[in-house]
Amino acid sequence: MTAAPRPRLRFADAARPALADTALRRDLRDGAAAVRARRAAAVAETPDWAELRAAGRALKDRTLLNLDACLERLERAVTAAGGTVHWAVGAAEAARTVARLAGGAAVAMPAAPVLEEIGAADALAAAGSTVHRTGADAEFPAVRTAVTGVDVMVAETGAMVLLEWAGDARRCLAVPDALITVAGIEQVVPDRADLEVLLRSLPRSAGERLTPAVSVWTGVAPGDGPAAFHLVLVDNGRTRALADEIGRAALRCVGCAACLDVCPVYERTGPGPYGAPPGGPIGAVRVPLQRGVGSAATASLPFASTLCGACADVCPVEIDIPEVLVHLRGEVVDARRGRPVPTPELAVMRAAAWTMGDPQRYEAALRGGVRWARLLSRGGRIRRLPGRFGAWTDARDLPAPPARSFRVWWRDRAGAR
């Protein structure tokens, strides 16, 4: 069995234990604060930061617009350099391909988001491979095959580029038998010259001037390094996201995690409640875009945000994540409109829109609502609301509405003049 991680609980339910985890909360808070400070410093000393962001966005948009041609060019370059390209539609297919290529051999597999996404470790273990998570494992010298992720692929040359802090993957690149690299199809750029932008913006966005290890590998070289190089290109819903005119912006993501470190929600919950890595604002859009909003758990992700906009401000490729979140909320609501029995929320929202659609109806509802709310209040505040609105008053008061609305005051004043 292969197990690609997927959200199983609705975000609000999955968040509850995380919120109660004192040590997790402290780690998240301290970690986020440290990265935010480092990132702010790294960006502050980059006078052309705004231009770098715009250039990164333009580069990725241009690539995504011609993704099919760009990927075929990449395949030709990798093949010409002695490598083999494998195309995988789904996560399970990608994981099976990796396991088949490893052929039961022990592998070194440093962590990478795409490897978690496809559930590579479980597939390898199921196929009889022993998986060494980092280069520090005691048996590492005996390992002859490695599985890695990658940050950027260059279509022009077939080069794989990876930026690292600790260099775990770098130590795996010289395995003698086979090097298996897994990548999402959106991670390609057309030309080597395009690295100029991302090699500057990606490290700073992640909070450093430079990353200590920048590794570049291309195909195979006889007598040097691995005898075989395999590139597994993973779709897993990316073409589905690409077909979404608003959502496709999320495929610009270069994986810097800056949006996670500024997200107030992520800082309280960590990655767990998002159900699949990386979580945070980008995860809350990527998972529904790639998997659809059919399950209640996935459909809850676009709502796991206050839309505060901090993520959009820091994104090095200018993904307007709140815009995509709102768009996906619309997709979720539209998908539920077809149900034979309307959801309670749909009924409430429809009634509210109908009421607001006419000033007379609005004022009548206002009058009734104010009278009702004042009955519930004591000492100028409402301490308990019924039904779903009780979620507000569980921990927060609501001010009692004054007897006279603004519009009535305005009318009274005009009448008195």
């Binding site: 975000f11 609000a12 968040a15 509850r16 919120l19 107030p264 929600v265 309280r268 919950t269 676009p302 709502f303 796991a304 945000s305 206050t306 839309l307 505060c308 906009g309 901090a310 959009a312 815009e323 709102v326 909320r329 619309g330 997709e331 979720v332 609501v333 539209d334 929202m349 429809r350 509210a352 829109a353 607001m356 659609g357 006419d358 000033p359 609005y362 206002l366 609502g369 104010v370 505040r381 301490r383 779903r388 609105f389 979620a391 507000w392 569980d394 921990a395 927060r396 008061d397 609501l398 001010p399 509405p401 004054p402 006279r404 609305s405 603004f406 519009r407 005051w409 305005w410 009318r411």
Partner: protein, 241 residues
């Protein structure tokens, strides 16, 4: 100037004093304020919760009310509603396959005071220790910057306190406060902790929705700290108050 007031539906019902303060303030500065009585809601809540069709109907209604009448500007004491009209309405109409109808310029109150009227000292006095919470829509959606602070610094006798991590969201987020109530409360708990560290007596902002959230938590804790819209501070007390 002939200014149309968009009071915002929740101010109309829950915080009418803020609407009255805007009228008092703008009239004191010599402008004619008109309240188009047919106004209801800009559609922000529906749009940001995913109810596109309903939001489109409300956005159309907003345009109908404010496009006629020969107004020089529309002013609202809500940064999030100003952002909804200026940023989201174009998206709402695009999603509905329609062109956005023309509107007079729509300003959040402090933008209107500082940028359009060129005023920072409105002659107010407020002898209290006040903390300003820069709401997400004011800061990030509208780019209000230090305009509210410049207005506050010009208020006589007002002692300004700075909230630690001021630009972090209070956790309101519209329907987020209900759908993800636990995370929302975790956020406002930290916001309240930061506010209380300032020893401020009053928290002010340019969004009564966020203030209802922060104020709801401060009230539940019986903290004694009040929340007030910036307009209420700038306009000064009402006659007979």
């Amino acid at each position: 100037m002939r200014v149309a007031l968009f009071v915002a539906c929740y101010n109309d019902a829950l915080f009418p004093a803020t609407g009255r303060a805007v009228v008092r303030l703008l009239e004191r500065l010599g402008h004619q304020v008109v309240f188009p009585a047919a106004q209801t809601c800009c559609g922000q809540m529906h749009w940001s919760t995913g109810y596109r069709a309903e939001a489109a109907a409300l956005a159309s209604g907003f345009a109908e009310v404010f496009s006629g009448g020969g107004f020089d500007a529309v002013v609202t004491p809500s940064a999030s509603c100003a952002a909804a009209v200026r940023r989201d309405h174009a998206r709402i109409f695009r999603a509905a396959g329609r062109d956005a109808p023309p509107l007079p310029p729509v300003h959040e109150l402090t933008e209107f005071l500082v940028d359009v009227l060129g005023v920072t000292d409105v002659g107010a006095s407020f002898p209290h220790r006040v903390a300003y919470h820069p709401t997400c829509h004011a800061t990030r959606a509208l780019g209000a910057g230090d305009r509210p602070l410049r207005l506050l610094r010009a208020v006589r006798s007002l002692e300004l306190a700075e909230i630690p991590a001021a630009d972090e969201c209070c956790g309101f987020g519209g329907t987020f406060a209900l759908k993800n109530a636990d995370v929302s409360v975790a956020l406002v708990a930290d916001k309240v902790r930061h506010i209380r560290a300032t020893a401020a007596d009053v928290v002010c902002a340019v969004d009564n929705s966020c203030l209802a959230h922060i104020g709801g938590a401060l009230s539940r804790l019986r903290s004694g700290v009040r929340v007030l819209h910036l307009a209420d501070i700038l306009a000064g007390p009402e006659d007979g108050a």
